[in-house]
């Protein structure tokens, strides 16, 4: 289960299921701040500004935070909020719970990227070009291909993401497009 909160759905002041408020979280010692966006607390990565959190069950939260950046680098859509990428990568965490090989593949893959990135790790590389240079060196690896392949459905098959691309999805219940613009092109 992916725990994604948005401002409207979450109780006031609450951003995480265990009851940590945003203020608590920011005050709390032992949290790790990842750039300006993400905070790791316990077994969750938290996005204070957008007010969502993602609990991890099997992968290290630091790994999930790196995966989020990796997912954005593989399929960058600047208009798409992080939470959709978070939903997509949650699948790797879930699978890691039942598949030790998969867990190792992901953890080792991220560790390898971090090691190649040097101090600060993959996520510490601020420039996209620097991260892409690393990815081009590993794009044939099973790790990269597993993450990339999973995103094709994990990211693009989220119905809530379709409006960002102008795709309208199911149309039968609306009577198709016969009266809703199947031939409305005017600029030709």
């Amino acid at each position: 289960m992916v725990t994604i909160f948005n401002r409207k759905a979450a109780p006031p002041g609450r951003v995480e299921k265990s009851g940590i408020s945003r203020r608590d979280l920011l005050k709390r010692g032992g949290t790790l701040s990842l750039g300006a966006l993400l905070v790791i607390s316990g077994n969750a990565i938290i996005h204070p500004q957008a007010a969502w959190g993602l609990e991890t069950s099997n992968l290290k939260p630091e790994t999930m935070a790196s995966l989020l950046q990796l997912a954005r680098d593989i399929y960058p859509h600047d208009q798409i909020p992080d939470r959709f990428y978070a939903i997509a990568i949650k699948a790797y965490d879930t699978k890691a719970g039942t598949d030790a090989d998969h867990k190792k593949l992901i953890e080792d893959g991220i560790a390898n990227l971090d090691q190649k990135a040097g101090k600060g790790g993959y996520i510490g590389l601020s420039w996209e070009d620097d991260r892409l240079a690393l990815l081009r060196g590993i794009e044939e690896t099973p790790f990269f291909q597993t993450v990339r392949g999973g995103l094709v459905t994990g990211l693009y098959n989220q119905k809530d993401i379709w409006p960002y691309f102008g795709y309208e999805g199911e149309s039968y219940s609306k009577g198709g497009y016969i009266a809703r613009g199947f031939d409305d092109i005017e600029w030709l």
Binding site: Y75, L155, G166, E168, G169, Y172, Y177, F182, W187
Partner: protein
Amino acid sequence: MAAPYDLKDDSVVVIIGSGAGGGTLGNELAQKGIDVVILEAGARHEYEDFINDEWDSFGQLAWVDKRTTSGDWRVAKDFPNLPAWIVKSVGGSTVHWAGASLRFQEHEFKDLTHYGKIEGANLLDWPITLAELEPYYAKAEDKMGVTRTNGIEGLPGNNNFKVLKAGADKLGYKECHTGNMAINSADRDDRMSCQQTGFCFQGCKWGAKWSTLYTEIPKGEATGKLEVRPNSMVQKIEHDKSGKVTGVVYIDKDGKQQLQKARIVAVAGNSIESPRLLLNSESSMFKDGMANSSGQVGRNYMRHTTGSVYGIFEKPVHMYRGTTMAGIIRDEARHDPSRGFVGGYEMETLSLGLPFMAAFLDPGGWGRSFTSALDQYSNMAGLWIVGEDMPQENNRITLHKDEKDKHGMPIANVNFSDHPNDIAMRDHAYKQGVALYEAVGATRAFPTPPYPSTHNLGTNRMSEKAQDGVVNKHGQSHDIKNLFVSDGSQFTTGGAENPTLTIVSLAIRQADYIAKEMAAKAI
């Protein structure tokens, strides 16, 4: 009403598969009073069950049983266990097909005569001519309600078509219209007209698109002479000492192995499953597989020379709205070797939803060149190339040496490599497609590689002589008189046209022949 037949009833015609070939043959025979059992590997999903969602629908309908691939085609790398995008469900791939219904051109029945010998290609003339098939094409067009035939109006053009047409005009193409589509442009045959819903590939929830699922099959069942058994996977065809087929072994809906006796067996499981079944029906009498004295079973696998071109424009197109493939340019379908290849190709409108666009735009692709194209999804127009590919002996279906399905039957391997003629044709078509969209003002136009095969052809081909092919001009096995092939695997060559209309026409013709031979007690 549907007649249940006894497993021991050896008077029935058993048809394996319920798609364009099997479903049509079943109804045609039932209408003549002949007892028919159709064994269909998939489940029965009626049209109200179809899903307007690409991946969910794929999960419901597609044949996803494992297959393997080899050869230099890109599908083997991108989709190593999904060589074909076809259907496992009652109605077969007529559930999924786009509806394009084109007759072959005269020369496409006589490739060897017109193209001459081509190195690496196993070309052969069909043992029938266009003139012989024309009356059956006419029957099929009437049966299926093909637009622009029988006084049926064309479908209205959607946005994607309008872009195609504008580009065709700019390039000087003359034959561009909304196609000959087996999709109702007005209510007909107790089916309603197209509502421009845009999920043709996911099964038409209105029933506006012809499919054996809700035309041929219920009509056949209404005669009391046709029984369709879903979830029935045939493993082997049996024969007697004389070599005549006597029945088929299949796994029933409860997972139990059954033997259905038969007077005649017709194989119509698509060009991958049909040769797989014949090869698996080897015996001490037929050591290389059934009906395979020529050694051609499984060979000459064709998939059409395909590919897509998408154009991105400054303003919205919404290509996914409306009938997916109601748009065609036929000018390049002619045989004109001055272009650097023999045969020709059609250009037809195509769109995919966002999820499938992401999967098929550039399989394996990533980064901003990929995502910036997807970002323009709503401003995109698309077309599909479908051209004649060369039959090659080593493009073939074989039984996997080690891997078996859950019931112990060896899975199929699909080996395919492009012939140089295929590549020359595809490159020409890509160039024309890009030029077409640029002529309408595309800011970016790009080709995409072939998808898993939807047109699977040729693996049990027709031939005049028994040594050159598997079946004769009626789809009857050269080796075994009461064994028929009724799907696209009997195609001698593939033509440039979407194959369903020809499959249906051949099935109608075959039904006449089977009835005549049965009446004469020849089979």
